[in-house]
Amino acid sequence: MLKYVLKRLGMSIPILLAVLTLVFVIIRIVPGDPAMVVLGDQASAEALEALRAKMGLDAPLVEQYLTFLFGALRGDLGLSLLSGKPVLAEVMTVLPYTIDLTIAGVLIGVVFGVPLGVLTAVYRNSVTDYFIRVLSLFGLSFPAFYSAILLILVFAIQFQFFPVISDPDLSDYGQRLEHLILPAFNLGLIMVAYITRSTRSSMLEVLREDYVRTAKAKGVPRLIVIFRHALQNALIPIVTVIGLYLGVLIGNSVLTEIVFNRPGLGKLILDALSERDYTLLQGVMVIYAFIIVVVNLITDLTYGLVDPRVKHQ
């Protein structure tokens, strides 16, 4: 197992470095002078020069790259151009909101998706199966910002069950939960759809296995066959769903935060964009890259842990 962990860890580092490099390159290809982009073309030469120095843009490109890379690896993401505060501090203030949202979204996905997936697999080709499958296709066709708007219209404006704007005081747990439910359901919607579909296909595969047929033949009650024999094994590939759809999860969390006006990485990146705060933009991208690499690592390791076949490959 240790060998597998080390090998997988070794694979993540080059990916992380490469993603950081890509972020650096994309941010650097801003047409024109970023300092002028920030200050406008009426800015004086001195002001531009000062800002360029502050952004580190007066250094040679290689030096800028190394500064950025080593900074990022040490957790130093530079100072936000707009607020002057360290980017990492800005990120850390809003990160709990995004983590709350994402975890709740995934939980909702699992809680609803797994039973629905089992149902569709067990009653394969029935009306139930067909109905849930079309519904799940609907679920993953919804753009997250649109479903968010509809949820707000119905549950926050029409029925007023939840606040329209999700901006909780994190130390007040009641409020934290109250403000979380609607955005979490919005994020959960697409996860329910994905998890239903992958539970269905992995259940279908497991239900055909010999040991399931043997259990049935032995007269093991149907429900026990489904839940003990089949589902336990079918759940293994579902671990990978989270890794597989992490990109969608992140994209949708950004949109959800924007519509609900909820603090978080998504709102931060949008603020960085609208204020043309390139260090902040770059910093948030680094954090995202880091999260992606770490989550992928964790899902791979979990997969190796629960399915012994994987680590011996």
């Binding site: 080059p14 990916i15 490469a18 993603v19 890509l22 972020v23 994309i26 941010i27 290809i29 801003v30 047409p31 079309v134 296709l137 609907f138 993953l140 066709s141 919804f142 753009p143 997250a144 910002f145 649109y146 708007i149 509809l150 707000i152 219209l153 404006i157 296909s201 279908l204 055909r208 992490l246 990109g247 969608v248 992140i250 994209g251 949708n252 950004v254 949109l255 924007i258 519509v259 990146i269 949008l270 964009l273 609208s274 933009l281 991208m285 995202y288 890259a289 992606i292 690499v293 992928n296």
Partner: protein
């Protein structure tokens, strides 16, 4: 196994296609919805009741009526007309970006799989990096840096689509390249180029079409999302995401401004998903034979 197993004239291909569609009725539903959208988009200049950017301040924010079927927005522009014109942007950005990403990705994937070793490591390594960045974030970054317009939007989406197709194209290439018919081609002195284009490509075409359809669904969603964020094609050009963005300011009093364009996004994305999902079931032998 493949969607277009052998060459056999246009007639044969058409019959194969109909058979594939018949295997799974949802793909018909997707195709029909999609055709409706395409027809609406193509005919927009003739069937749109009003000019999509013509402002009429006297009739701003009016709900649906016989005069304006889906009402008007805050500038008094006809929402139905804007939706019809917006379909052109959504459908063209969606399909062109995926076709572009598909072309680049497939060529790279086949090349990497066929050549192996150094090229395989290099190309797939770069692809993995691009794939690590979520589509929406890539779009956000590229459009923010290069500026929001149709071309940059298309490039941004294509960049995240290409690696997926490289993956899809590479795996079968590796398994096919040592098969007898490829070996035979090589023995007959065919060039690598010819083998890849004429013998490997047709074998993976089916899967490419399926994934292409599913990715257009994603691309349409991403285009709408970026337009909603304000990084899409600039106003006053009508885009569905942009219309929802503008309507969001009046969401309490005039929710329909945002609701109607959203329905069209939903139908379009659903159409591509139904089509791709149905086709995938139809050509996947594992799902079909039991």
């Amino acid at each position: 196994m493949s969607l277009f197993p052998k060459a056999g004239g246009l007639h044969r291909t058409f019959n194969d296609l109909v058979r594939v569609f018949n295997r799974n009725k949802t793909s018909w539903a997707g195709l029909i919805l999609l055709l409706v959208m395409v027809v609406l988009a193509v005919l927009a200049p003739w069937i749109a009741p009003y000019d999509p950017i013509d402002q009429n301040i006297l009739q701003r924010l009016s709900p649906s009526s016989t005069e304006h079927l889906l009402g008007t927005d805050q500038f008094g522009r006809d929402i139905l007309s804007r939706i019809l014109w917006g379909a052109r942007i959504s459908l063209s950005v969606g399909t062109i970006s995926v076709l572009l990403g598909m072309a680049v990705g497939t060529v790279l994937g086949i090349f990497a799989g066929y050549k192996g070793k150094f090229w395989d490591y290099l190309i797939m390594g770069v692809m993995d990096v691009f794939m690590a960045i979520p589509t929406l974030l890539m779009g956000l970054m590229v459009v923010a840096v290069l500026g929001p317009n149709l071309v940059n939007l298309t490039i941004a989406i294509a960049l995240t689509v290409a690696p997926r197709f490289a993956r899809i194209a590479r795996a079968p290439t590796i398994s096919i390249k040592n098969r007898d018919f490829v070996e035979a081609g090589r023995a007959m002195g065919f060039s690598d180029m010819r083998i890849m284009a004429a013998h490997i490509f047709p074998n993976i075409l089916g899967e490419l079409v399926v994934m292409g359809s599913l990715w257009v669904a994603t691309a349409v969603r991403i285009e709408a999302s970026l337009s909603f964020i304000g990084l899409g094609v600039k106003p006053p050009t009508p885009t569905w995401g942009g219309m929802i963005r503008e309507g969001f300011q009046n969401i309490l009093s005039e929710p329909w401004i945002s609701i109607y364009p959203g329905i069209f996004i939903l139908i379009t994305v659903l159409a591509f998903n139904l089509l791709g999902d149905g086709l995938r079931d139809a050509i996947d032998p594992k799902l079909r034979n039991s």
